[in-house]
């Protein structure tokens, strides 16, 4: 366990020293703004599994999904031995068949 686990309250108390009249909700919004900005640089690596569906080319990475993906690093496919095998990235995305769904 970490020596200190920061909560929003600790950040709030620090901000009060500099700006005494700010509200908790205002600081909460600023913390979330900071987290979005830090997410562009800070590397929080995670893994997620999804179903491989017949005749589906696209798998959504929208911000409204259960997971928020900033950058895909690797994709792996389940093989017949139950192992996830890393697959190569197609850099030119040059497919003959166009899918719109």
């Amino acid at each position: 366990m970490a020596a200190i686990e920061f909560t929003g309250k600790e950040i709030y108390s620090r901000v009060l020293q500099a700006v005494p009249d700010v509200s908790e909700n205002y600081v909460l919004n600023l913390i979330n703004e900071a987290l979005i900005d830090m997410g562009r640089y800070y590397s929080k690596y995670e893994y997620a599994k999804t179903d491989l569906i017949n005749d589906q080319l696209w798998y959504n990475l929208d911000d409204d999904r259960a997971i928020t993906v900033n950058k895909v690093m690797r994709c792996s496919i389940l093989n017949s031995d139950g192992e996830y095998i890393k697959i190569p990235r197609l850099t030119n995305a040059d497919l003959k068949i166009t899918h719109t769904d």
Binding site: A2, I4, E5, F6, T7, G8, R14, A18, V19, D21, V22, E24, Y26, V27, L28, L30, I31, A34, L35, I36, D37, M38, G39, Y41, Y42, S43, K44, Y45, E46, Y47, A48, K49, T50, D51, L52, N54, D55, L57, Y59, T68, V69, N70, K71, V72, R74, C75, S76, I77, L78, N79, S80, I85, K86, I87, P88, R89, L90, L95, K96, I97
Partner: protein, 149 residues
């Protein structure tokens, strides 16, 4: 949807992935899509039979966004070594807003100077050194100086 088992022996040779906008595309040369452009050997969407799927057949490794803080008493979803940077960011923005609100130009100037210092600290911590400070396993362990002889 009916779940089926994976029959792919070597997906590294027959599958590819790519990004288009906010979607990841998964295409394969395996299976026969029964048209001249989706036969075996052509890149196309996976062919598993109508209504079929492989449960958890795709694993994505990704860089995630930190979780949203929903309550002021909640724990913040970033590594501890980046907490000072977070405090700097919040203080900088709060001081900037406070400087804009005040009628006293002297106080506004002092707050803006403090805000700029906090923002500078934040940028240095996250944008310039964030990855190096946060990298717990990788990164340079020692620098070997060039032999100048």
């Amino acid at each position: 949807m009916a779940n089926i088992s994976s029959t792919y022996k070597n997906p590294e040779k027959t599958f590819v992935w790519f990004i288009e906008g906010d979607k990841v595309g998964i295409a394969t040369t395996e299976g026969d899509g029964s048209t001249s452009n989706t036969g075996k050997g052509e890149l196309k969407a996976v062919v598993l039979g109508s209504g079929n799927q492989i449960q958890n057949g795709l694993l994505i490794s990704y860089i995630a966004e930190p979780d949203k803080l929903t309550s002021i008493t909640g724990t913040i979803d970033i590594d501890n070594n980046l907490q000072p940077a977070l405090i700097d960011y919040v203080k900088a923005k709060a001081l900037m807003d406070a400087a804009a609100r005040t009628d006293n130009p002297n106080i506004a100037q002092i707050r803006m100077a403090s805000a700029q210092q906090c923002m500078l600290n934040y940028k240095e911590a996250v944008r310039r050194f964030g990855m190096k400070k946060n990298d717990k396993t990788g990164g340079t362990r020692a620098v070997v100086p060039a032999d100048m002889r």
